[in-house]
């Protein structure tokens, strides 16, 4: 039986003490083990940033790629070997700024993977610049006079693409986060989880206590994840109250089955068959 220990790595962790990434790492390891997935059966594609370092601190297949490009790489990996449990992990800068276009299209394709965005509303690794989700007015190294633009709403954005699973978690609520990640892993299709993640070093606005005072669970509050319009309305909330939980769950066909067909053998297992092209020759005569 898989246990969390199977995912443990002894690599030195370079995150700041108290960083909101630690609980996410912990919950992710637990959740994978809980779902009975072995480290060699999963592939984590991660971006560049503090969040992108995550798979370095686990025992798991890892492809740590470019800033913002987790989703295309993960899409290619899933098509090549759809037996792998594919996850993509990155920060808010990685996913909502540099990688914004891929987010739209991976969600639209409904690629069967779980995407965790560690949303600390700041650029951590590069030391405190504004991110797309930095609140309006926040002072950062690139917004010394306060952020002139309002934060992007990742939940609303992704809902507009209707992938199969849209949720928001919070690093300060491990139980809920575990449930979201596990549901995301189980549920076929694109599972998007925006995770509120306090950056204790650079984000002095959106702290543990700031979030803790505001978050509430929409599912406990009665939101039905099949109600897309309701989800969109709820997603508008940000301020006094911050909705977390499962916003939406759908059942569109998943990408690799649309492309490869159901029950296809994984592409990577197929041998080259040069001679087969001869069958096409007659059309060129």
């Amino acid at each position: 039986m898989v246990t969390t220990n199977d995912y443990d790595s002894d690599r030195e962790n370079s995150w700041c003490p108290g960083c909101g990434n630690f609980p996410i790492l912990e919950v992710l390891k637990e959740s994978l083990a809980e779902r009975g997935i072995w480290p060699h059966e999963a592939l984590i594609v991660s971006g560049i940033g503090q969040a992108g370092k995550l798979p370095q601190y686990m025992r798991v297949n890892m492809f740590n790629v470019l800033h913002g490009r987790t989703l295309p790489v993960a899409t290619g990996a899933k098509l090549a070997n759809h037996r792998l449990v594919v996850l993509a992990v990155g920060g808010d800068g990685d996913g909502y700024a540099e990688g914004g276009n891929h987010l739209i299209h991976a969600a639209r394709r409904n690629v069967d993977l779980t995407y965790l965005v560690h949303n600390n509303q700041i650029y951590g690794l590069t030391k405190g610049q504004a991110s797309p989700t930095t609140d309006a007015g926040s002072v950062t190294t690139t917004t010394p006079r306060g952020n002139p633009t309002p934060g992007l709403n990742p939940i609303a954005l992704v809902l507009s693409l209707q992938p199969n699973f849209v949720a928001r978690g919070y690093a300060g609520n491990k139980e809920q986060l575990a449930q979201l990640i596990q549901t995301g892993l189980e549920h076929p299709g694109f599972s998007f989880i925006d995770i509120l993640q306090p950056c204790v070093t650079f984000n002095k606005v959106n702290t543990y206590s700031w979030y803790s005072e505001r978050v509430y669970d929409i599912n406990q509050a009665g939101h039905d994840p099949e109600d897309l319009s309701g989800a969109f309305s709820l997603a508008q909330e940000w301020g006094k109250r911050i909705p977390t939980g499962i916003f939406y769950k759908g059942d569109r066909p998943v990408f690799h089955e649309s492309i490869l067909g159901k029950d296809a053998r994984p592409l990577w297992e197929l041998e080259p068959e040069p001679a087969r092209i001869s069958a096409f020759f007659p059309e060129y005569f």
Binding site: R59, F63, N64, R69, A77, A80, R83, N101, P274, R276
Partner: protein
């Protein structure tokens, strides 16, 4: 009797001149002739003036000639632009409904294509088949060859369409028989019973990739490279190929990286602007040693430039693209047949060295047709490069993706292949694939990656000479300009000039070792390429310290031919350096 003819069909986009061209080309190939054909078109869907140029000969041909034996004019611009190209004994056939010409010779004749199409029992959109029939009769082609070409071309549209197109062609032929009293310099004489395949460069690349076992291709459409993936995609089911049209080129190359990392032979296809967007991904491939093949179809830049035209302006860009230093290979086939084999070689190189490999073409080669005997698929070898031995995957040792080895290549394993974890990062890393900032390890990893350059250089495709050894003047070229140079050498030899040529089918690693002896006894090296800055010449200077004597350059977006090279050589060429 030696046959060597040039035929051009001119008209607006949307007039279907590609159908005429394709039918005649097929019929000519079935007559046992060798072909070279290219298309000239605007970046628009309707209107403008496009043309299709076919050269057909009883021996192989590699470029077009400037004198036409037949001009088929579907629009007035065909007259303004190409009338003067008609040679002695040449025929001008024009669509009398759209074109006005003074018919001052029996070799100049108009016909009402649409009317003949309708009268022939078809629809006026079969006007172009009528034209094909008329031309085919005038050049004396065997009518069943054209009928057969029509049957195969329209087969997928059903028997009725085949039959009425055959009727339209017959109507054209009948018209010619009745009305045409001229004498055409083009006279097709069937050569042998077995005919040759007619393939564009793009089709050859597509077949090569499929033969190589490429099973993943991601691309964003871009002229002139789209044809490759569209062609592959048409065969996707039968070859278990996954194709995805990415949201942009960044995504395309990163998807290919993901698939390649998981063990699938993967490629992308693009042109200059799209490749510009792939440059960061290229660097990721370099750092993570992920094999990927890039089919790079050049077109004139900078920026959008001239989207449907031809140029060889991206050689040094491809050579130096990507931040940081890592090895790569650049294949530069000169002909569709080379392109097929280059593609297979590209996948093998990529897998053997875990590097990005370019196959560079340009619009001329991509969309241009050639005849070839079917490639011998038994000769296709597949080399997946060093793979982690199965017993090592069952051992207790952790797998090390970046294990130090003598030639810098570390055996690959794939995630999910075994219980071994596969770990990789675009940060500098240690042997296991985890990131490091250790200066000594960094230095060794740089050296490991660059160590591949040596064996890669040792097996570079050798330069290909033509026209004899030790000539006083050597034309040095790469990629599609092969054709023009080869034709030029023949023309120059007819004129008793001591000129030969060398084509580089692989420009990087630069084949300096093989090239130097070939140039040793030459007093005059003239580089020939389709760009303005003489990029091959620059590279020659850099890699051999040889100063080329002159450069023959063309950068108006239209292909060179043999005659152009001969003329420029006579004028002494240019010095762009």
């Amino acid at each position: 009797m030696h046959q060597d003819y040039d035929l051009k069909i001119g008209g607006a986009a949307g007039q279907g001149l590609q159908v005429i061209g394709d039918l005649i080309a097929k019929a000519l190939a079935r007559s046992g002739l060798h072909l070279f054909a290219y298309q000239d078109f605007y970046s628009r869907v309707r209107g403008g003036h496009n043309f299709y140029h076919v050269r057909a000969a009883s021996s192989p041909v590699f470029s077009h000639k400037s004198r036409l034996d037949i001009l088929v004019a579907l629009d007035q611009a065909s007259i303004t632009r190409h009338y003067d190209e008609i040679g002695a004994g040449g025929v001008l056939l024009f669509d009398s409904q759209n074109v006005q010409v003074e018919a001052n010779s029996p070799n100049v004749m108009g016909l009402d294509l649409a009317k003949l199409a309708v009268e022939g029992g078809g629809h006026k959109i079969m006007a172009n088949t009528v034209a094909a029939g008329a031309v085919w009769h005038i050049v004396g082609g065997e009518s069943e060859l054209l009928a057969g070409a029509i049957a195969d071309t329209f087969a997928s549209k059903g028997e009725k369409i085949v039959a009425s197109n055959q009727a339209a062609a017959a109507a054209g032929a009948r018209w010619a028989q009745e009305m045409f009293r001229g004498n055409c310099s083009m006279k097709v004489n069937r050569q042998s019973t077995d005919s040759r395949m007619v393939l564009t460069g793009n089709e050859a690349l597509a077949l090569g990739a499929l033969a190589a076992g490429c099973r993943f291709v991601s691309a964003y459409p871009m002229t002139p490279a789209s044809g490759i993936v569209e062609h592959m995609n048409g065969k996707a089911d039968r070859m278990s190929l996954a194709f995805e049209q990415a949201e942009d080129e960044i995504s395309a190359i990163n998807m290919a990286m993901g698939a390649a990392f998981c063990g699938v032979r993967s490629m992308v296809a693009t042109s200059g602007g799209g490749f510009s967007l792939m440059v960061e991904g290229l660097s990721l491939a370099g750092c993570t040693e992920t094999p990927v093949v890039i089919a790079m179809g050049q077109r004139p830049g900078p920026s959008t430039g001239m989207a449907t035209r031809t140029e060889q302006g991206d050689l040094l860009f491809c050579l130096h693209a990507g931040h940081g230093e890592f090895p790569r290979a650049i294949l530069t086939p000169g002909h569709p047949e080379d392109a097929f084999w280059a593609m297979i070689h590209a996948f093998n190189l990529a897998d053997r060295y875990h590097i990005p490999v370019f196959v560079m073409t340009d619009q001329l080669l991509a969309d241009g047709y050639a005849t070839l005997t079917p490639p011998d698929v038994q000769r296709v070898t597949i080399d997946r490069g060093p793979l982690a031995p199965v017993d090592s995957l069952a051992s207790d040792e952790p797998y090390r993706r970046y294990q130090f080895t003598a030639n810098g290549v570390s055996p690959r394993a794939f995630p999910g292949q075994s219980e071994k974890l596969v770990i990789s990062t675009g940060n500098e890393h240690d042997e296991t694939g985890l990131s490091t900032e250790d200066p000594t390890l960094r230095t060794r990893m740089v050296q490991k990656r660059l160590a591949k350059s040596r064996p890669l250089a040792d097996e570079v495709l050798p330069p290909v000479g033509y026209g004899g050894e030790d000539a006083a003047t050597v034309l040095l070229t790469w990629g599609s300009s092969y054709g023009a140079c080869r034709e030029a050498v023949d023309l120059l030899h007819e004129d008793d000039q001591d000129v030969s040529m060398i084509h580089l089918p692989q420009v990087w690693p630069f084949p300096a070792r093989a090239l130097l002896p070939l140039l040793a006894s030459t007093s005059r090296v003239v580089t020939v390429e389709m760009n303005a800055t003489g990029q091959l010449g620059r590279l020659l200077r850099q890699e051999t310290l040889i100063q080329p004597h002159a450069a023959i350059l063309k950068y108006d977006g239209r292909p060179m031919n043999g005659e152009f090279v001969v003329e420029e050589l006579a004028k002494g060429g240019q010095n762009p350096w």
